[in-house]
Amino acid sequence: MSAAFIFEQLLNSLQLGVMLFVMAAGLTLVFGVMGLINLAHGSLYMVGAFFCAWVAGETGSFWIGLGAGLVAAAAAGAIIEMLVMRRLYDRDHLDQVLATFSLILIFNEGTRWVFGAQPLYLDIPDALATSVPLPGGGGYPLYRLMIIGFGVLTAVGLYLLISRTRLGMQIRAGESDREMIGALGVDINTLYTLVFAIGAMLAGLAGALVGALQSVEVGMGEPVLILAFVVIVIGGIGSIKGALIGAILVGLVDTLGRAFLHQLFALALPPAEANGYGAALASMSIYLLMAIVLAWRPKGLFPVNA
């Protein structure tokens, strides 16, 4: 096991972690401000990926595609906020779960209708289709490094947005007291639509960026959605900081589990069995992490007083 391999795996964890953060940030922002649990967040991820792949295919430019993916996801978010979500803020979580589950069914079939049943493929832009040498030998894809960069930019951007801007002030006010935003003279409907669209755009960003690493297909947002749930449950629902820490933790545990667990088992078991059990335990590892965190802190690492 070389140092380069370990380093590469650490970068992979970081890449998965920041993508989960971008995804989870939108989810936790919407929960923090509006108290809404949105299962259709994964559908917005899918919308971002599909529009990015489609526009990039038509124009030949990944970057135009990325822009289109962000706009489409934000627009889809704004539309479902105005049509559906708005009616759900005062409902219990069960209604929210069911309504947004219905939206998943609608989005999945709708996407299949518009784009067909075949997956789309999104190419990495030529300029980024190279590797950067790693210390200790080997290389790491530049595109994945860029994803990490995007994730860090998102984290910094969100931090600045929330701590330094007028919108951020309204968001913070909205988290602590809905009536207070009314008192600040803010139109609450516009604020909620805007916050939801920002969350949707983040999901679209994650979908578009990951779309170039895997095939773009219907249902692609669902496994990511569930990972994002694990992240915000670990971090504390409603906390952006918690989402960041949770995402990095989940990225680390998942990637390193897959890379190293079977090697650990191989110390005691024959290779075939070691691989089998290693893979099985690796696929469970983040849920075990979640269980441990919750047994210790039932409201996550950074609980938000709601």
Binding site: V97, L103, I106, M284, M290
Partner: protein
């Protein structure tokens, strides 16, 4: 009082209708519909299980597919070994496969119950949206475990070649199989009625309405909820075992989170906390699948729209529409 009577009449009608469908199908030799009715009965049974936790205990479990699937795997794996003539495990105790229906049911009840006790013990430390997400996440964990364990074909699943043996009955006869599913469904509803009406049920319903109240009179909510969660999971697990027998196939798809959502849909479409609601919900679901699915592959689009409409505008479900608000006197 009038509403109570109306709901009772409605319930009797629902139960009789579900019984009539396969009998008519058998009389006119449309055996496909016997299988459809068995599907409805089995999925409704899964819903009856969830309803105990969700409808009466207020525990919004988004992971009941885990128990459905575990029940299915328990039955499927044992009968697979029986067919192969191999042992399920040889250490620390010898456990052979089995083709006895009662053994398979027992295994399904046991496995789903034990796992529910573990998942519930952790998840019930949390409430609200955390509980929803955690039950979902634990179900995903079991789903991925089933996919990544190569022993039972992982993602591809296991075919089962024979139905199991129930003394005195021939389960390979579709109508007999339906009657068994139907009987278990009614039994589960009867058990739910007794449990909800009992002292335990009173505490459970109070936990749903107001947990602080329950604590303040000296009943700890946690063991009450955990017990109900386990009972709920066992009923759903039994449904899983029947489902696997009906299909002659077990695969991780019966553990998927879509199925968790669907079981929840059965409960909500019929009416949360209505004993016969899951039958209505499951039947509507299957009818939509069969009818709209006959016209277009996109039937899930319509299902989504209809479900969204029910959640936004018709909150009591079908039984709520027909029989008025639920009463708890």
């Amino acid at each position: 009082m009038l509403e109570m009577r109306r709901e009772n009449l409605l319930n009797a009608g629902i139960a009789l209708l579900l019984l009539a469908v396969p009998l008519v199908a058998w009389a006119i030799d449309e055996t496909y519909y016997i299988t459809v009715a068995s599907r409805v009965a089995i999925l409704a049974l899964a819903g009856v299980g969830l309803n105990l936790a969700l409808g009466f205990g207020g525990m919004v479990s988004f992971g009941h597919a885990a128990f459905f699937g575990l029940g299915g795997y328990a039955a499927g794996v044992l009968s697979h070994h029986a067919f192969e003539g191999s042992a399920f495990m040889s250490w620390p105790v010898m456990i052979d496969g089995s083709d006895s229906t009662l053994t398979l049911w027992f295994a399904a009840l046991l496995l789903s119950g034990v796992v529910a006790a573990i998942i519930g013990a952790i998840s019930l430390r949390t409430t609200g949206v955390y509980f929803i997400m955690i039950t979902l996440a634990f179900a995903q964990m079991i789903y991925y475990l089933a996919i990544s364990l190569p022993t039972y074909n992982g993602e591809d699943g296991l075919p089962l070649y024979l139905r199991s043996n129930l003394p005195g009955l021939d389960l390979s006869n579709d109508l007999t199989f339906f009657f068994v599913c139907y009987a278990l469904l009614l039994l589960a509803i009867f058990l739910s009625v007794r449990i909800v009406g009992s002292r335990f049920g009173a505490a459970l319903e109070c936990a749903r309405q107001n947990e602080n109240r329950l604590s303040a009179i000296g009943i700890a909510p946690y063991p009450v909820k955990l017990t109900a969660f386990v009972l709920s999971a066992m009923i759903t697990g039994l449904a899983g075992a029947l489902f696997v027998e009906l299909n002659g196939f077990v695969s991780p798809s019966i553990l998927s989170w879509h199925l968790s959502g669907e079981i929840m849909i059965f409960v909500i479409l019929g009416g949360v906390g209505r004993f016969y609601g899951p039958i209505v919900g499951a039947a509507l679901f299957i009818v939509l699948e069969t009818v709209i699915g006959g016209y277009t592959e996109r039937w899930q689009l319509f299902l989504g729209v209809i479900l969204l409409g029910v959640v936004l505008f018709a909150r009591g479900g079908v039984i709520g529409l027909l029989a008025g608000k639920a009463r708890h006197d």
